[in-house]
Amino acid sequence: MADAKPAPNFAARAAAAADRRDTRGRWLLSAPALLILLFAAIGPLIIVVIYSFLKKGGYGGVEWEFSTDAWTSVVFQKDIFTDEITIADAHLLIFWRSVKLSFLTTVMALAFGFPTAYFIATRNEKSRDLWLFLITIPFWTNLLIRTFAVMEVIRNEGIVNSILLGLGLVDAPVQIMFTDFAVMMGLLYVYLPLMVLPLYASMERIDFRLVEAGYDLYATRWHVLRRVIFPLVKPGVIAGSILVFIPSLGAYVTPRVLGGGRNLMLGNLIEMQFGQGRNWPLGAALSITLMAIVMVALLFYVKNASKTGARHG
């Protein structure tokens, strides 16, 4: 950009002015999108932070008075009679269940998704598209409908139990609905494509000469998988795991439908504060907590992605 010709000042200034005009034009062109997002996505998030530091109103809503009650009650609860402060077991249990189920879902998704992505990546060009298409269709289908489809399969009068009863393997239907297992199955079913797609993207680029070199050096299939293929696709593994873990953690529909009223997750706990709970500040504080966990997971991802990127690039 630095022009060292005669009259450098003039040329540089003209270029800078043109740059400024260009920048302003680009900002103006982006402005409508930014304004809509500011109004209906980002601005309201700031209000959530403010609300988490207010007192709760009698019938929902808030009173405009500073208070840290909401934040305290994320982890602690006050006995209404004795004012004794104890750990809020109910909340911690839900936190723990959310993290546990999201983690198990991620592990299961990896266990099923890795071979599937590998299978697709090792097909020939033409049929690869078709297999990918088959993974994409469920991903584009309404999440509620997919959850409903799982419900049809696992409920007491559902397919699995009809078959089991019909074959005489069990005398009474096996209760699968409204258990943690049902919620996990639902999450796995719903988010599996999110694991397969990034895994596929990194497997597609595997240089199979490296795999061949592994075999030439007397590696077994397991060794090749663990020492050659897995390190090559690690960025995809991390991306897929994050993409499954984050929405599982904030899941609302799947635990509501498959978990019933008892097996709540964080998303349901948050929603409850705005429904029956009528504790908006607590709901706001819980939302921020959820978002903080998500941000930590994302930062971990970004850090890892840039590290591996630097090593290979």
Binding site: R26, I42, R146, A149, Y189, G250
Partner: protein
Amino acid sequence: MAETTPVIKRRRGRGFDVRQQTGFTTIAMLCFVMLYAPILTLVVYSFNAGTSVAIWAGFSWRWYESALANTQVQDASIRSLTIASFAAVLSTIVATMAALATTRTRNFPGLTFIYAFINQPLMVPEIVTGVALLIFFASIKVATGYTGLGYLLIAHTAFCIPFAYLPIRARLENMDLSLERAAADLYATPFQTFRRVTLPLLWPGILAGGMLAFVISLDDVVITELVKSGGQDTLPTYMLGQLRRVVTPEMNAISSVFLAISIVMVTIFFLLNRKKT
């Protein structure tokens, strides 16, 4: 796992495929069956003549007819389509503008900021966005007394923007500036260049972005459930409410229609994207 040399020699014989991994194909097939079995069962039972969603009693269209005749379903469908069309059109227009501004350019001040801002809805859990909008819109409702469909329209538009933006941006990045420069050399005004050169080239990207936005809006449950006022059910929130009661195959019928729409959309999206390469 003590492997001996003769074993390896045998395995590296003629039929040896370096890409093969033991059991992977089986798991992959299991995966596809797992993904499709529930959906297929759902569709099959939508044609069930009986009232149960588990016992097959013969083929019939009765649940499609009853869904069509259900006024609540009619209302919710119209509302869903209205919101999705509005959100898709508006978000695609503003996303196209933003994509034009943020691609094929030097790294101008604020570029990263705009990019992060537009992709923000993808990073925040839906339930958090939903709660934030509920709080914000509740105070607007109190202040203005307006309780119409506007809240849902603007909320859907906002979270559709990144979905519309990404395919358009991807398309733009694959278009070089030479044709536009040529047009400018031939004395086309910037508007003519845009109208006659950029827009026709960009069109598949815009269409893909718009369709993605449409499907995303149509599918939304969480944000709609939290933002809607009384009597503003969309099809997904209506279905969520129904799941609490005794489920009849009418739900399957509605779901199957929904599914058909999604599959048609993905297919078109897929073809649009493929033409590009």
